[in-house]
């Protein structure tokens, strides 16, 4: 066991205790958490900074506003209802079609307007936010999955989690929904995590739970060797994320839209450590490299260059 500990240490694997004490505790100020915990705030900041996000159709802040819902989405065929402070993808209602008064859910079921209203009402009263706080509901653009992922995802939209430290992307992971994860890109529920070479945007290895996987369990296609299009844009988008929030150590969730390219979905102030397993790489070495050699105030281009040069996979 001691030798395992030593090996992990030598490979620079980051543990929860060290992540919490040295990175989150030291670089993420508590007062900035609300900026990422509330997706609406994050979105407003991103829009103000001119970054790409899924278009915001409207916001419902009070029970009284619910009557506006149908007016807001009157000419939208597809849209997403998302509680601003929902956690773990809870409370997200994806509408993919309309017919007469009815709305079609992503699963294909048809529901009537009162059910949609009830959903919004519950979300407003804090049903999906941790601690049951009063919440707001965003109505936004429904991301269209880029066809590059069609072969390796089951329903849902895959997303790319980029861990950014002091403005430098240090590790990235592609999250692929599976049948087990119910179409959600949530690793805890069984989505696959796939490592991404930061220099090229090419996928390497995969992990489901803590087991290594090479193929998507539902489609049977290999998850390795996929090149994510527009990788430069994704790196830049992620690299700017800490500028808008002021957080030093942050996880940026990016989706690739068929029409709009990379869009920032949300930020996370306590990104998990699974991307280490997906990439078969330790985070600590990279983090230490950034804090030792890199300049946090360097222009974005220089930072991306640094990342491409030092965090190449092979």
């Amino acid at each position: 066991m001691l030798s395992l500990r030593r090996t992990l240490n030598e490979r620079g694997v980051l543990g929860l205790n060290r992540r919490n004490s040295e990175y989150i505790g030291r670089h993420n100020e508590r007062r900035r958490y609300p900026l990422v915990d509330d997706k609406l705030l994050t979105k407003e900041l991103a829009i103000a900074a001119g970054m790409s996000v899924p278009e915001l159709y409207g916001v419902i802040a009070t029970q009284h506003d619910i009557r506006d819902l149908h007016r807001i989405v009157a000419d939208r065929e597809r849209f997403v209802l998302k509680p601003a402070r929902g956690s773990g993808g809870n409370g997200i209602l994806v509408i993919t079609g309309r017919r007469a008064q009815l709305y079609r859910k992503a699963s294909g079921d048809w529901i009537d307007p009162s059910e949609v209203e009830h959903h919004v009402s519950s979300a407003l009263s804090g049903l999906y936010s941790l601690g049951g706080h009063h919440d707001r509901v965003m109505i936004e653009y429904c991301v269209q999955c880029d066809p590059v992922f069609d072969r390796v995802s089951y329903q849902g939209v895959p997303d790319i989690r980029v861990i950014v430290f002091l403005g430098y992307p240090v590790m990235a992971m592609l999250r692929l929904p599976t049948r087990q994860s119910d179409g959600k890109a949530n690793l805890h529920q069984g989505a696959i995590g796939v490592g991404v070479d930061l220099a090229t945007g090419e996928t390497v290895g995969g992990v489901q739970g803590t087991d290594a996987v090479a193929e998507h369990p539902d489609t049977g296609n290999p998850v390795e060797g996929l090149v994510i299009p527009g990788w430069d844009n994704i790196l830049e988008l992620a690299g700017r994320a800490c500028e808008i929030t002021g957080l030093g150590y942050v996880g940026v969730d990016v989706v690739l839209d068929r029409d709009h390219g990379p869009l920032i979905l949300e930020l996370n102030a306590r990104p998990g450590l699974n991307s280490q397993i997906a990439n078969r790489r330790g985070l600590r070495g990279r983090l230490e490299r950034v804090s030792a050699a890199a300049d946090r105030t360097a222009p974005l281009g220089t930072r991306i260059e640094f990342v491409r040069e030092h965090f190449r996979h092979r």
Partner: protein
């Protein structure tokens, strides 16, 4: 810098905690283990006299800082008497006085004492050996004896030993016979030895004491000879000449004064009784400290009202549980619901015992969870949903109580005190984790929570732990120091090693 600050703080807290702890155990005699008992002795002197008409005055020698024992309690019982206690350099006496007394009078003096290793045998000032003024023919006899003994001894101690040997010799010779003829009274031999030692310029004194034995109704004061050898007092049994003091010998008074002196009374009768009992060590320590007047106990939990003490005896265990929580979460890496839920659950186990508590918890949470998922389908708002789960939990508990009563199981009856809110919150937490992270994770965290709760409960229910934190709450400072240090632990958690083992391959 920050590191050093933390280490210094932790060291300071540890020192403070351990220092107070050691002072209380070694210095004040607080027991380290629960239910420790110490021997408690009650000594009583009762004397009765016939009063003549007119004023009556009686003086009794009473113990003053007895060596090896602490007086916990002292009572003077006498109706209608004026009482004064006088204290001198090497004596202490109580004087009862009454202007008019009639018939037989009884006076009592009673003390409670307990052995105290802190107090040495030596005590009292060293008197200068004054040359006794003896009359002839005793003077010549004494000088002869002293010079004979001196030629057979090397120092004060051996002089005393030789002297006592001669005094106790069945055929002591005419000089000693002469001297002894004048001192046949009890303690006379010791007094004679004292006088002869004074002639030889060796400081000595006679001490009167009792051998403490249980249930003595007519105990007798035994004289004991104390000889100062230049450095310390050496004790001699005047009858056998042996040195040393028996372990349970309680010195009552020293010197030439009689135990009781009276004016205006006759036919004195003295009855001395001794009886032993056992008392909790903690109680004795408190009483002893009360006498010393130490601030430590004034600011102790033992001074609180009993009900408050009962609350604190539980409250003080929470830090212990919390500390184990920290270890199990941050060092081992067991995942649990909420931060302190396991400790709260562990507290509820106190009511139900471990096995019953675990069973009950699993049953209630399982049923509650089923209800919670059913309610989910009804799409209720948060607060009404929580309330609905709470009501269900109460109903389940009632049902379990009735059922187990019918089946004559012990378990159900303790249910009433099982905190409901904790159960409700556990159900809520579990269902959230279930939805967010799936059933496997929910069950894993649920098991982790119960495991941590069980460990915390087992630790918290140890008699020794309960005793230590209650009597020595300062030990929690040490726990605090350890917790602070763990707060800087940034190594891997044990279970993380398993999680990341893929990364160690190749």
């Amino acid at each position: 810098m920050r590191q050093l600050h933390l280490y210094l703080l932790a060291a300071l807290l540890t020192l403070l905690g351990l220092g107070l702890f050691l002072y209380k155990t070694l210095g004040l005699g607080f027991p380290m283990a629960p239910a420790e008992e110490v021997e408690l002795w009650t000594l009583q002197v009762r004397f009765t006299v016939d009063s003549r008409t007119g004023p009556l005055k009686a003086t009794l020698q009473i113990p003053r800082n007895p060596p090896r024992y602490t007086i916990l309690d002292e009572h003077f019982v006498s109706r209608g008497y004026g009482l004064t206690a006088r204290e001198g350099r090497d004596f202490r006496e109580a004087e009862w006085a009454i202007r008019q007394a009639e018939g037989r009078q009884s006076l009592y003096y009673r003390i409670q004492v307990t052995a105290d290793g802190q107090r040495g045998v030596d005590s009292g000032a060293v008197p200068a050996a004054a040359d006794p003024e003896l009359e002839e023919p005793f003077k010549t006899a004494a000088i002869t004896v002293v010079s004979e003994v001196r030629s057979h001894s090397a120092d004060a101690a051996s002089f005393a030993a030789e002297l006592l040997r001669r005094l106790n010799d069945p055929t002591p010779g005419e000089n000693i016979d002469l001297l002894l003829s004048d001192s046949r009274s009890p303690g006379g031999k010791a007094r004679l030895a004292e006088t002869l030692l004074a002639v030889a310029s060796i400081p000595a004194r006679v001490a009167f004491g009792l051998e403490l034995e249980d249930r003595q109704r007519y105990a007798v004061f035994t004289p004991w000879l104390e000889v100062h050898d230049g450095k310390r007092w050496v004790h001699f049994d005047p009858e056998s000449g042996e040195t040393g003091l028996p372990d349970d010998f309680f010195i009552w008074w020293r010197g030439d004064r009689p135990l009781i002196a009276m004016q205006g009374a006759s036919n004195p009768e003295v009855q001395i009784s001794v009886w032993g009992s056992y008392a909790p060590a903690l109680e004795i320590a408190e009483r002893r400290v009360d006498l010393v007047g130490s601030r430590v106990v004034e600011f102790s939990l033992l001074g609180l009202p009993i009900q408050t003490q009962a609350v604190f005896s539980i409250l003080l265990l929470v830090p212990i549980g919390a500390f184990f929580m920290v270890v199990l979460r941050n060092v081992v890496g067991i995942r649990t619901f909420g931060t302190f839920m396991p400790v709260l659950i562990a507290l509820t186990f106190r009511e139900t015992r471990l096995l019953g508590g675990l069973t009950l918890f699993v049953v209630v949470v399982a049923i509650g969870l089923a209800v919670r998922f059913y309610l989910e389908r009804l799409r209720l708002l948060l607060v009404p949903r929580l309330a609905a789960v709470l009501i269900t939990v109460v109903l389940i508990l009632a049902a379990v109580s009735i059922l187990s009563n019918r089946l004559e199981l012990e378990l159900g009856l303790s249910v009433a005190l099982f905190p409901l809110v904790i159960m409700t919150m556990a159900i809520e937490h579990m269902s959230i984790v279930w939805e967010e992270r799936g059933a496997v994770e929910a069950v894993r965290e649920g098991t982790g929570t119960l495991l941590v709760a069980a460990i915390a409960y087992l630790v918290m229910s140890l008699d020794h732990v309960q005793h230590l934190v209650f009597v020595f709450p300062e030990l929690l400072l040490v726990v605090l120091a350890a917790t602070l240090l763990l707060g800087r632990y940034s190594g891997y958690r044990l279970l993380e090693l398993r999680r990341f083992r893929v990364l160690a391959e190749r």
